[in-house]
């Protein structure tokens, strides 16, 4: 199976790297930001930090479509930050399964990315039970990375 992992290049990446044992034996590639942290990943596509720059967001859309059409992953998994937004919406159009994992740092309040991606995620996980009540019925708690 081919798994696409998408997240920003800092703590969200550290978090997803804690989960690698679960993906063992599958073909894995990353979509992440350029940075010192992500420079050590082997199979990756990088882009400039989207932050809150609307123009960069728009420009990232064709790039993301290109990557997903070329790679055709079976599932896309993200631990967050805004990079997941163009990727998940493109995945929706291309009918690729998605899983969003709200970051461990989100204890009582959803992240903005989480709120935006909740409607388009096939599987939506939170890492603290008290966060379940802030989302709809789709949200699930399967434990956390601690």
């Amino acid at each position: 199976m081919k798994i696409c992992l998408t997240c920003s290049h800092g703590g969200h990446l550290t978090e997803i790297l804690q989960l690698m044992d679960a993906f063992e034996g599958n073909d894995i590639f990353f979509i992440t930001y350029e940075g010192a942290r992500s420079s050590e990943l082997t199979r990756k596509y990088t882009m400039k930090n989207l932050g809150k720059k609307p123009l960069r967001f728009l420009l990232s859309v064709p790039k993301v479509f290109g990557i997903l059409l070329r790679e055709k992953p079976d599932i896309i998994i993200s631990t967050g930050s805004e990079i997941a937004i163009p990727v998940f919406y493109a995945a929706k159009v291309l009918r690729i399964k998605t899983m969003f994992i709200e970051s461990l740092c989100r204890v009582e309040e959803p992240s903005l990315t989480g709120k935006i991606l909740y409607p388009v995620s096939d599987v939506f996980l939170v890492q603290w039970k008290q966060l379940l009540f802030k989302f709809g019925r789709k949200a699930q708690y399967w434990g956390n990375v601690l």
Binding site: M1, T14, A22, E40, Q127
Partner: protein, 174 residues
């Protein structure tokens, strides 16, 4: 609850071996002057070596070695070599400290000082306050006192329960 075994690591400042304090503020785009300034001041007063990862902080330390960002392997090595880590309440920094089995002093970023976009760091700090490998400090004046403690790392207080559930799911859709 599994039994917790107490492991004393040879990182004691008393022994003088690898007496290093590693300060880290992660990759967040806002700076963290409050922590870097205070730790720089403390570094000028103590014998222990202090190395700081300052990220996007404007203030540059004068009493301690520092760098802005580094590849993960270097960060992991500093986490492992340090007697203690002083960190913002960022999940990446917290997970790396746990992975390298080093006690961690957490000093949360606050929105009111423009250190972070919202106060979620306070929430994670509160959740981790009971963890034996974490000391939460909320006031800069408390940092110096916290550093005097001779910490040891308690094994088995964390367990990654998300991995087995994820593994099962991935297997089910394969």
């Amino acid at each position: 609850m599994e039994a917790v075994t107490l492991q004393i690591r040879e990182k004691s400042p008393v022994l003088g071996e690898c007496a290093l304090i590693f300060v880290t503020v992660g990759s967040h785009y806002q700076g963290f002057d409050r922590l870097v300034k205070k730790m720089d001041e403390i570094a000028g007063k103590i014998d222990e070596k202090v190395i700081m990862q300052i990220g996007n902080t404007k203030y540059k330390p004068v009493n301690a070695e520092y760098f802005e960002f580094a590849e993960y392997s270097k960060i992991q090595k500093l986490n492992s070599d340090a007697r203690i880590i002083v960190s913002h309440a960022g999940v990446g920094s917290i997970l790396t400290a746990f992975e390298q089995k080093t006690h961690l002093i957490i000093f949360p970023r606050l929105k009111r000082y423009n250190e972070v976009v919202d106060d979620h760091q306070l929430q994670i700090a509160k959740e981790l306050a009971e963890n034996p490998n974490v000391t939460v400090v909320n006031d800069v004046e408390g940092l110096e006192e916290a550093l005097k403690i001779d910490f040891s790392f308690v094994e088995g207080s964390n367990g990654n329960r998300l991995v087995p559930s994820l593994k099962k799911y991935i297997f089910s859709i394969s």
